[in-house]
Symmetry: C2
Subunit: 152 residues, 2 copies
């Protein structure tokens, strides 16, 4: 087992954790993207739609911040979702520059089935694990999400 030497604060025995977590994340992400299924939305679009489903109406800027992407990236995602009829856009009541993006009834109706189809592969992998491992991943997911949402 290779150990990368580094001069970081935390324990040296831990020093390849960064590499291992990076590799694991990149690989799982690949597998997740490869699960296309019959769902019409892409993985990125699904994430944004799910965010609107959870949080309610948001401005494009708020949505970009929550998903930790730059505004131009979110512009494209919203445009695609709008074309599919899964989100609607209306003027902001007090600021003409902004808009309010909201999930539509059709978007709400499809999202659970879309997510379920999209996640079928991962769900199967998780079902193969022990309860202990699933509990561990549950806590890991929270920590990872917190790190990923860190404001630099």
């Amino acid at each position: 087992m290779l150990t990368i030497v580094s001069n970081k604060e935390h324990d040296v025995a831990d020093s390849s954790l960064t590499s291992r977590l990076r590799l694991a994340t990149v690989r799982l992400n690949r597998r997740l993207r490869a699960q296309r299924s019959s769902s019409s939305v892409t993985l990125t679009q699904l994430s944004a739609l799910f965010c609107l489903y959870k949080c309610g109406p948001l401005t494009p800027g708020e949505l970009a911040a929550k998903e930790v992407v730059q505004p131009p990236s979110m512009t494209r995602v919203i445009a695609a979702l709008e074309e599919l009829g899964y989100v609607s856009r209306r003027p902001h009541p007090s600021d003409g520059r902004q808009a309010i993006v909201e999930i539509t009834e059709e978007g709400s109706a499809h999202i659970l089935a879309d997510i379920s189809a999209r996640e079928a592969w991962l769900d199967k992998r998780l079902a193969e694990l022990s309860d202990v491992d699933r509990e561990l991943l549950s806590r890991a997911a929270e920590i990872i999400d917190r790190m990923a949402s860190h404001q630099d």
Copy 2:
């Protein structure tokens, strides 16, 4: 907290684990890709190079299998690394169709610095965690990698 209803084998209280792990993975992956630094290699190239560094010489097919990507994807990665002088290619001794790809001295000399620069952001996030959380992520990384390497 939203709970997605599903009819899967494992506990219903667990039912949003799939979604949470997917979201966490996608977001961390975005952050990792955004860390460009001065490193000349991309995240994908770095993964392949690291694999050659760990495993020794491999054929393109073996490398693609280890990284869980399709052969044409690996072809491009190898070509880019070869152009940078980080890997070399030589004929397979007994099979004219295959080739042996190996990390060069220059590749070996640069990889630790490249990885370190690339991972600086994640390393900082991990350093902010408690020992308990890092230990948890260490085990999670192993489980995730195992799931991601699953042969369908």
